[in-house]
């Protein structure tokens, strides 16, 4: 699903790297409502940073503060080392792609894209050249004279992208860039966006509510909830090492087992879970008091179904299959454990023949390895 962090540059791991965008303790209040609550972030050159969160999580407000449409109530924003306090949007080295695209309806595609360059007072020949170049990058050749209402959703999206990139901004802010496209077009456009980003070397900050979109696009994800950043990390880190129940449940599917710490060693812990009706053995240490209430999060694809009872005394439970969804590449099984807890297990369909597949109401064992679970304390 995501690129492994080692495959890409990771400037955030380099202590000497200068962040391109620095957000310091930024808070934004609308009256009594706190939209953004004490957010600090460093975003580096060439990143695709996704602000991910549900509606009302403050991600769009944060983006609008970067663009200059809103002023922080407190805290500071630096872009390329320059404080942005009091700098109006039209003087920021930033361009934004709007969620609704905000194309000028009375202008042609060409005029829309040229608009930003005209504001700079560039010579006409140069404007024409750069507009043509940008239109060919987003593959809109031949549509120059059309007006926005004569374009399809995907074409409009590309005009908006071309218009915001033609000024060669160092930083592009994208508000739900793929939100208005249908699923197939969205996947295609995701890859195109990444290609264009790499080709032009622009830093992207993308706001999205769609976790799949964030996983595919992002170098790093900042997950937001109620105005706060709850976790920052690569898609891999966010998915495999969530730091809270909220993160684990927001990204992908997860089975959450509540329990108490029984054994707390540096290299492993055991958890007594009434949800499971047994004990969990987790192969990593946890910083929590003994007997503390903790949760073990296990992804559905890391669980195994079997008819025979697996060996060992931890990390297993028996139950009855109550629902099966055949998805083609995988099947999703909902198993009701003897404790009454329902868990979700996905199994790849490696064989074409259906003889040995599990069926409804079958009694099965669910098990997983020592490294499958992540323990979270909040």
């Amino acid at each position: 699903m995501s690129a492994h962090p080692d495959e890409r540059d990771a400037p955030w791991l380099d202590p000497k790297a200068q962040p391109y965008v620095r957000i310091e303790n930024v808070t934004k209040k609308f009256g009594e409502f706190v939209a953004v609550n004490d957010v600090s972030l460093n975003i580096y050159r060439g990143e695709i940073f996704c602000l991910l969160g549900g509606s009302g999580s403050g991600k769009t407000t944060l983006l609008r503060m970067l663009a200059g449409f809103e002023q922080p109530t407190s805290g500071r924003i630096f872009i390329d080392g320059v404080p942005m306090e009091g700098v109006p949007p039209y003087e920021r080295p930033v361009n934004m792609m709007f969620q609704s695209y905000a194309l000028f309806p009375h202008m042609t595609v060409e005029q829309n894209v040229a608009f930003g360059l005209k504001q700079e007072g560039l010579p006409r020949a140069e404007i024409e050249e750069r507009v043509a170049e940008m239109l060919s990058i987003v593959k809109l050749n031949g549509l120059e004279k059309r007006k926005p209402h004569q374009l399809s959703g995907g074409q409009r999206q590309r005009v908006a992208l071309a218009r915001s990139l033609v000024k060669r901004p160092k930083l592009l802010l994208l508000d739900e860039p793929l939100g208005a496209l249908d699923k197939k077009l969205r996947e295609h456009t995701q890859f195109e966006l990444v290609n264009i980003q790499e080709r032009l070397g622009v830093t992207f900050i993308v706001v999205t509510h769609d976790q799949e979109e964030a996983m595919t696009l992002a170098t790093r994800i900042g997950l937001m909830d109620q105005g706060r950043i709850v976790q920052v990390g690569t898609p891999y880190e966010i998915y495999e090492f969530p730091n809270s129940r909220f993160v684990a449940e927001f990204i992908g599917n997860v089975n959450m087992f509540e329990g108490r710490l029984v054994e707390d060693e540096p290299d492993h812990v055991t958890i007594d879970s009434h949800d499971l009706g047994g004990t969990l053995y987790v192969g990593h240490g946890v910083s929590a008091a003994p007997d503390a209430l903790v949760w073990a999060a296990i992804r559905p694809e890391k669980m195994v179904l079997s008819r025979e009872e697996p060996p060992g005394q931890h990390n297993k439970a028996s139950g009855i299959i109550t629902e099966i969804a055949y998805m083609g590449d995988i099947s999703i099984y909902i198993v009701e454990l003897d404790s009454g807890k329902r868990v979700r297990v996905t199994q790849p369909n490696t064989h074409r023949h259906a003889d040995d597949r599990f069926s409804w109401d079958e009694r099965v064992w669910v098990s997983w390895s020592d490294s499958a679970a992540v323990v979270v304390t909040e």
Partner: protein, 336 residues
């Protein structure tokens, strides 16, 4: 939802209406006449369009034809009606039609009419410009005001309509006359010793016209500006455009339909305006509406008055129709 008894009352009313309709639809007279109409090619849609069509025929086209007919007649100074008949039976055998173009030629020959028409156009044009200059910022401010304020502000724009038009013009006489409120305030403050003559001047006439027609400018402009997507302006500013230039290159062109609608609603009635120039304007203000009035009531020259009316109508309507055709071609032509 908030008031369940109200909803159930509404539902009861609707179901009662449905029951009544069901009875009517199933009755024999309805079915028989509906069947007849259907066989004659009359559908529900034609019936719906028929009502405004009949209204326009009766109250617009028929009077227009009568005026058109009179304009081709000759003046008869004695007798009633005060014009010669257009159609006459000669010896009870032929139908004789006498069309006289003399009235129209007379309009061209006597410079009074051309001058009156030109000065009406001038007055209407200047009034429209002033309405636009005053009305646009007002409409813009209302459209940008918070939703709770918007209705109050719109109400204030519409409120004067609840008072008689004539009363409001007379109120201006009270304000502008030599002993009027404005002059008394100015003199008591010592700004001027002699009263400033404002009534019976072009100034007073323009004040009256602009004041009276301003709502007709504001309302269509507001209707247009209120629909503008604020993110368009943000996009323009984001692309490096200063706010005022963003207004000029985005808001202004997008509000063109509103500007045109408002200007037409002010300009067209202002050309024929005759009450305001007569009550507030000086004797020198020559307006086509006033000439028409004098021709009709003072001179009792119905054919010339009718010719003036027809000429005015044609001179206003023809350019507007051409203009609208061009507009339609521009918008729909671009769509395909």
């Amino acid at each position: 939802m908030a008031n369940p008894s109200y909803v159930s009352l509404g539902q009861r009313l609707i179901s009662a209406l449905e029951a009544v309709l069901a009875v009517i639809v199933s009755s024999y007279p309805y079915r028989a006449s509906a069947g007849l109409l259907r066989r004659a090619g009359v559908t529900g849609r034609t019936l719906v369009i028929a009502i405004p069509t009949i209204w326009l025929l009766l109250f617009f086209l028929v009077p227009f034809l009568i005026v058109l007919k009179i304009s081709f007649a000759e003046t008869r100074w004695l007798g009633s009606p005060p014009y010669t008949p257009l159609f006459e039976w000669v010896e009870g055998q032929y139908l004789q039609i006498k069309l006289s173009f003399g009235n129209y030629l007379f309009l061209l020959r006597d410079s009074l009419y051309v001058q009156a028409f030109l000065s009406s156009l001038k007055v209407a044009f200047i009034s429209t410009i002033f309405c636009l200059l005053i009305g646009y910022p007002m409409a813009y401010a209302i459209a940008r005001a918070s939703p709770s304020w918007r209705n109050t502000l719109l109400m204030l724009v519409i409120l004067p309509f609840w008072t008689s038009f004539l009363l409001r013009v007379y109120a201006w006489i009270g304000l502008l006359s030599n002993q009027g409120v404005i002059n008394q305030v100015l003199m008591s403050l010592g700004i001027t010793r002699e009263p400033i003559v404002m009534l019976q001047t072009d100034f007073a006439m323009y004040v009256g016209i602009v004041y009276s027609y301003l709502p007709f400018m504001i309302l269509p402009l507001y209707a247009n500006l209120e629909k503008h997507d604020p993110s368009l302006l943000e996009a323009a500013v984001d692309l490096g455009c200063r706010p005022f230039r963003a207004f000029l290159s985005i808001t202004l062109p997008l509000s063109r339909p509103g500007i045109i609608a408002g200007s037409m609603l002010v300009f067209i009635p202002a050309v024929g305006e005759f009450v305001i120039p007569r009550l507030l304007g000086g004797t020198s203000s020559l307006m086509i509406g006033r000439v028409l009035w004098d021709e009709y009531f003072a001179n009792r020259n119905w054919p010339v008055a009718s010719a003036v009316a027809i000429a005015l109508l044609l001179l206003l309507v023809v350019p507007i129709v051409i203009f609208q055709r061009m507009q339609a071609r521009e918008t729909f032509g671009a769509a395909r």
